[in-house]
């Protein structure tokens, strides 16, 4: 496997941290808001409060993992979480 130049790796990891991190925290908040057994108005707040912890974790992950491709893992994790969060909308869209 050809090793990418350092600046490209840094750029890729930075984008992974910024975009992948945002996708993860957005999707995780949506998912939590959907599954928390609370009134909708409360669930929104309780689900959004930990979002920045997910984001920070994703940033650390993007720079900690040895493989630059795996830095994008948060983006992959975000997909199923978003599906849970938005399943009524997703079903509507499919129908």
């Amino acid at each position: 496997m050809i090793k990418a130049p350092a600046w490209l790796q840094i750029l890729s990891r930075s984008c992974a941290a910024l975009l992948g991190g945002y996708a993860l925290s957005y999707a995780a908040s949506a998912c939590l808001a959907r599954i928390l057994p609370l009134a909708a108005a409360d669930a929104v707040i309780v689900a959004t409060l930990p979002a920045f912890i997910f984001y920070t974790a994703a940033i650390l992950w993007a720079f900690a993992c040895s493989d630059a491709l795996r830095a994008w893992a948060p983006l992959a994790v975000a997909v199923p979480l978003a599906l849970i969060g938005f399943w009524p909308q997703a079903l509507e869209w499919l129908a």
Binding site: R34, D42, V44, I45, L49, F52, A68
Partner: protein, 504 residues
């Protein structure tokens, strides 16, 4: 990228800290100054008398003024004098955006007050960097997130956290800078984490509207309705039917008994049968931030129509977090605590920035030209964004007193002075040797701080407090400048001494 976990975290801490530290320093400094925003407002507008007038009397005078000058307005806003803000302000138009008039609370007469951005500029800069509001909120939010990441990576790479808690080795160059950076970070780690996280929580639904998108289809109004934040319906037909306004003094007393000190009131549709009086509490009555809360009274009968809502656990949590960030509770002791903690945060960021250059100075001295050029950029930015920003802040205070009172668009000239001084400081740092740039800018800042009293504003305790605090900060900055100057000369003197000994 480095191999081990700790190494990669150290890499992230170093570079994210350097690149974003310059703006984070500006955010933390202005945030620390914003703790005393009202006091700075008061100092920057010397025409406002320092008086203690009962709120009920002030409210009556404000209403008398509005009856005489604005009887047809659809909304009257009144900001009542309080402990930190002795001025009486009236406005017309929606949500305090209309034209504002300052009154003398003792007489109810309008007074001419110079236009000034006041300490409020630091508050606004703190969360928008003076960009357009929505852009600024996102930029500052991103920076806060970097700060959070920098704190966590800092903990990760700092292995001997408890041992070094008690370690400070002064006068050891790089070692001392690292010790200071560590000590200031670890000592107030709970504060750094709290202030950064709660700062993000204030606008969390602007940053991450996922919950509203998922459960309310992105409809913010529906979300706020579900929160119970609905305004009372305005009775439409009655707004054209004239009616006398009820006396506000008993209503203020009733609201004060329920809410604590009052911040101000709004009177909607005054002098009509639809009149509504909304009385809002002062911000510091409890930890939870009570923005947007009010008791609503019928403006004709004086009957209570709507009380302040009790918050459920979840919204209360969010409001307490916002309140912890705004630091309006607990009076002056709490304000001073936040101010000192904020100063330590600023010192931590600044020492980290300096450490970056101190650590690499010797290494890069023998590096190739292109590397040295980047190192020079870091040095110049350090001076321009640390001491240059301090200079710009005190420059704004000077501008508020020195600019001619009758200057058109005076407020924007104050802001231009702030950014102008900052830009000049950056240029100055670019053309001077780095040590000299530090010393000169720190000394100038120190003199401007110490000299603040020469501009007047010694009349009352609050303004005297601003001047005295500036004096103390100025002396500290002067000492710092002296230390930087000393650090430059001591090694050479020592060398000279050794040479003499060798010669003898």
């Amino acid at each position: 990228m480095k191999n081990t976990f700790t190494q990669s975290m150290a890499w992230l801490h170093t570079w994210a800290g350097l690149i974003f530290g310059w703006l984070l320093f500006a955010i933390f400094v202005t945030g620390t100054l914003a703790v005393f925003d009202k006091e700075l407002d008061h100092w920057m507008q010397p025409e406002i008398p320092a008086t203690e007038v009962p709120q009920a009397d002030a409210a009556r005078r404000a209403i008398a003024y509005l009856q005489a000058h604005e009887p047809q307005a659809g909304n009257w806003g009144i900001s009542l004098p309080s402990e930190r803000s002795p001025g009486l302000r009236v406005s017309t138009g929606e949500r305090r955006h209309g034209p504002t008039v300052q009154l003398d609370p003792r007489t109810g007469e309008a007074i001419e007050v110079r236009d000034s951005v006041g300490g409020n500029f630091f508050f606004r800069f703190h969360f928008t960097l003076d960009l357009p509001r929505n852009w600024g909120i996102f930029v500052v939010g991103a920076l806060a997130l970097v700060m959070l990441a920098a704190l966590v990576t800092g903990i990760v790479i700092h292995k001997k956290i408890f041992k070094e808690f008690f370690t400070f080795r002064p006068n050891k160059g790089q070692r001392s800078w690292l010790d200071f950076h560590n000590a200031s970070a670890v000592l107030l780690l709970p504060f750094h984490l709290m202030i950064t996280y709660t700062g993000l929580v204030i606008f969390m639904l602007i940053y991450i509207p996922a919950g509203v998108d998922a459960l309310f289809a992105g409809d913010n109004r529906a979300y706020f309705q579900a929160q119970g934040n609905t305004r009372l319906e305005q009775p439409r037909g009655l707004a054209r039917q004239p009616a006398a306004l009820v006396d506000v003094a008993p209503l203020l007393a009733q609201a004060e008994a329920r809410l604590g000190p009052i911040g101000g009131l709004n009177i909607r549709n005054p002098n009509t049968a639809a009149a509504r009086i909304e009385i809002r509490p002062g911000l510091g009555n409890r930890i939870a931030l009570g923005k947007g809360q009010a008791m609503v009274f019928d403006g004709v009968s004086g009957q209570l129509l709507g009380d302040v809502a009790e918050w459920r656990a979840a919204p209360l949590t969010q409001r307490v977090m916002a309140g912890l960030h705004f630091a309006q509770f607990g009076g002056y002791p709490m304000r001073w605590l936040y101010f000192v903690c904020g100063l330590v945060s600023c010192l931590m960021i600044a020492s980290g920035l300096v450490l970056f250059c101190v650590k690499r100075g010797r290494k890069y001295a023998s590096a190739e030209a292109s590397v040295r050029r980047w190192y020079r950029v870091a040095e110049v930015c350090n001076v321009g964004f640390v001491s240059g920003l301090l200079l710009a802040c005190v420059g704004l205070l000077w501008a508020s007193r020195v600019l001619p009172v009758e200057l058109a668009q005076r407020e924007s000239w104050e802001v231009r002075a702030f950014f102008g001084v900052w830009l000049l400081a950056l240029l100055h740092a670019g053309i001077r040797p780095v040590r000299r740039a530090w010393v000169e800018q720190l000394l100038l800042t120190a003199f401007l701080c110490i000299g603040l009293g020469a501009l007047g504003g010694l009349g009352d305790a609050m303004r005297l407090g601003v001047v005295a605090c500036a004096l103390v900060l100025g002396v500290l900055l002067g000492l710092l400048a002296w230390r930087v100057w000393q650090a430059q000369w001591v090694p050479q003197k020592a060398r000279a001494g050794r040479r003499m000994e060798a010669g003898a």
